[in-house]
């Protein structure tokens, strides 16, 4: 994403390869959900799995071997409850060990918990979990990059539900006011809150128009179509441009596991052995069969 690349030379994966990695990410998520005794925020993990894959394997200019390079793209997980999806996506990119995540997740002294902590887990850019905090942090990082004359991007992933928080819109206003074209927000528009379907309680629509009204460049993508996500990433305006971009990704909470999709009971949960098998079989049936 960057004029001044951090990532070692090498070809970026194809859409088909990304699809396969997203499948693998979901399978690993389900295994963790079947291993850990407590609840995992599996619904919002699955809705964001393709976005995480597109970012960590294609869009973000990051290098797991050089996590403090000042020119790296910054990624902030504003919907911090999808931490485990981020940990695994990052492990598949070489940041962490997947086994380490599964073995210690949620346990005493683990670096991997329900919400990400930068101090406990270097490589993660910010400690998040309380909703509505990511975008203001991202504005600060984007402002700093501008000030230093750097051309990396700052990318922030939000849930649509959390954009009910006023701080999101305060930051959206500041981003446009300060002409932060190096700032990109991805919204996981899964249309579910924890206890209700979004539009039952909160009138988000006309959602893209809200961002347009704040002066943002709005891109609408299918958050489960890798080609659509790749096109959105390829089409991002230059970091030096003067408008922040939001990529609104239409998604499904629980995507890939039929009995979790559109199901309020699966905001968070855990899987017994039989349910894990059922979930993996459901996921397998969605897998694209083309050769990679």
């Amino acid at each position: 994403m960057n004029d001044d690349a951090v990532r070692p030379e090498g070809e970026r994966p194809s859409v088909a390869e990304l699809e396969e990695r997203a499948y693998e990410l979901r399978a690993k998520l389900l295994h963790l959900c079947g291993t850990y005794e407590g609840a995992v925020h599996i619904g919002g993990d699955l809705s964001a799995a393709d976005i995480f894959t597109a970012l960590f394997h294609y869009g973000l200019d990051v290098d797991p071997g050089d996590i403090s390079n000042p020119r790296r793209d910054r990624f902030l997980l504003s919907k911090g409850h999808a931490a485990v999806c981020m940990y695994i996506a990052m492990s598949m990119r070489g940041f962490f060990s997947y086994e380490g995540i599964v073995e210690t997740y949620g346990k005493l002294d683990s670096a991997y918990g329900m919400h990400p902590c930068k101090v406990q887990l270097p490589g993660v850019e910010a400690s998040t979990g309380s909703l509505g905090h990511g975008l203001p942090l991202a504005v600060g990082m984007a402002l700093s990059a501008r000030h230093r004359g750097e051309t990396h991007r700052v990318v922030c992933l939000l849930g649509d539900g959390e954009t009910g928080e006023g701080s999101v819109w305060e930051a959206a206003m500041a981003a446009r006011s300060n002409e932060l074209g190096n700032l990109v927000a991805f919204v996981d528009r899964n249309r579910q809150l924890m206890t209700s379907f979004a539009e039952e309680r909160v009138a988000f629509e006309p959602y893209p128009d809200k961002w347009r009204a704040f002066g943002w460049n709005v891109v609408e993508a299918d958050g489960h179509d890798m080609a659509s996500l790749v096109a959105a990433i390829d089409g991002l305006p230059a970091a030096q441009s003067d408008r922040p971009t939001v990529v609104i990704c239409e998604t499904v909470k629980g995507k890939g596991v039929d009995f979790m999709e559109h199901n309020l009971a699966w905001h968070a949960g855990s899987l017994g052995a039989a349910d894990l098998e059922r979930a993996l079989a459901a996921l397998e049936s969605t897998r694209k069969k083309e050769t990679v």
Partner: protein, 326 residues
């Protein structure tokens, strides 16, 4: 409550909130229930009184502000949610919109202390310090799940705001038999009597203090446990009485920062009233962000688990005694 639970049984405080609010909605037609997307256990009220239920989505500040607006117009609003966010994100709304005009808004929620394994964004550990600082605010922290209903019922007639803190609220130990204690906001409860020392505590650690007292009884120590579920206004008379009757030996145990919560409230009373103590230990969360782990593991790790409570109580009992006077 239609069902009676007895000591040691587990009961969901959240379900008690749900049933109590549904019951109070009948007798109080100006009772409203508001939540920022934490409504799963409020369905009994929501289904019965949908016109007086408001889920604003993820917007804690607006939620508290809207509650204040309802209260200005003569309503009794209850805001239910997760306390790390209500007590901090909406702190200015609580202070300026609720406490300043002294409106009868009730803030009730879960995740007080190192509970739920959510990590430091999801632990309310400073909340009692923040709430106790607010003029007009009554501050409570309730462990026994049945008591939550009683505190809510009593709060209906209060002219000003109240904060009601719970742990996770999914499985809480029933501590008291029905009618065993007179539950009064502003009055501490002597949960177990004793003469060698007093452990003051509140909320989820009352059960732990009772276990510690039981363990100490095995080697002949008689330890009083006070459930000081109201932190503000605090029961000053009971603190003075415990100094007199338990040798001036105090342990304060809480699932909150060790400084700023109940221990600090009691230390203020001790200093202000010139109460002479013969030992004072505070057990709570040190100045750290606590990390992940089960509730009990985290308490042990951070020095306020059961073993630490027993050891601290032994230490204060072993301190030389001077005649107390105040």
């Amino acid at each position: 409550m239609p069902v009676t639970f007895t000591f040691g049984e587990m009961l969901s405080a959240r379900s008690v909130i749900g049933t109590t609010l549904a019951e109070l909605g009948e007798t109080h037609d100006n009772l409203w229930v508001l939540t920022p997307d934490i409504g799963a256990t409020l369905v009994e009220f929501r289904d019965k009184y949908p016109e007086r239920f408001l889920d604003v989505g993820l917007a804690e500040q607006a939620c508290v502000g809207i509650a204040a607006g309802l209260a200005y117009d003569g309503n009794i609003p209850v805001v239910s949610g997760m306390l790390p966010f209500l007590s901090m994100r909406a702190l200015e709304q609580i202070r300026t919109d609720v406490c300043y005009p002294n409106l009868p808004v009730k803030i009730i929620g879960t995740h007080g202390g190192l509970v739920g394994n959510g990590g430091s964004t999801h632990y309310a550990v400073e909340d009692l310090a923040l709430m106790c600082a607010l003029t007009n605010m009554t501050v409570t922290s309730v462990g026994d799940p049945n008591m939550v209903g009683e505190v809510l019922r009593q709060s209906m007639s209060m002219p000003g705001p109240i904060y009601i803190r719970l742990a996770v609220g999914k499985k809480d130990k029933v501590l008291y038999a029905e009618g065993e204690h007179d539950v009064r906001i502003g009055k501490g409860i002597v949960a177990r009597d004793g003469t060698d020392a007093t452990i003051f505590t509140h909320g989820t650690t009352v059960a732990q203090a009772l276990d510690a007292a039981e363990e100490l009884a095995a080697d002949g120590r008689s330890v009083r446990v006070v459930d000081m579920f109201t932190l503000k206004p605090i029961d000053e008379a009971l603190i003075a009485q415990c100094a007199d009757e338990t040798g001036g030996k105090f342990v304060v145990l809480e699932d909150h920062l060790a400084y700023g919560g109940l221990a600090s409230r009691i230390a203020d009373v001790v200093a202000d009233r010139g109460i002479r103590l013969n030992g004072f230990e505070r057990l709570g969360i040190p100045q750290v962000y606590a990390g992940f782990g089960d509730d009990e593991e985290l308490r042990d790790k951070h020095g306020y688990g059961l073993a630490a409570t027993v050891a601290a109580t032994r230490r204060v009992i072993a301190q030389p005694s001077w005649p107390t006077s105040h």
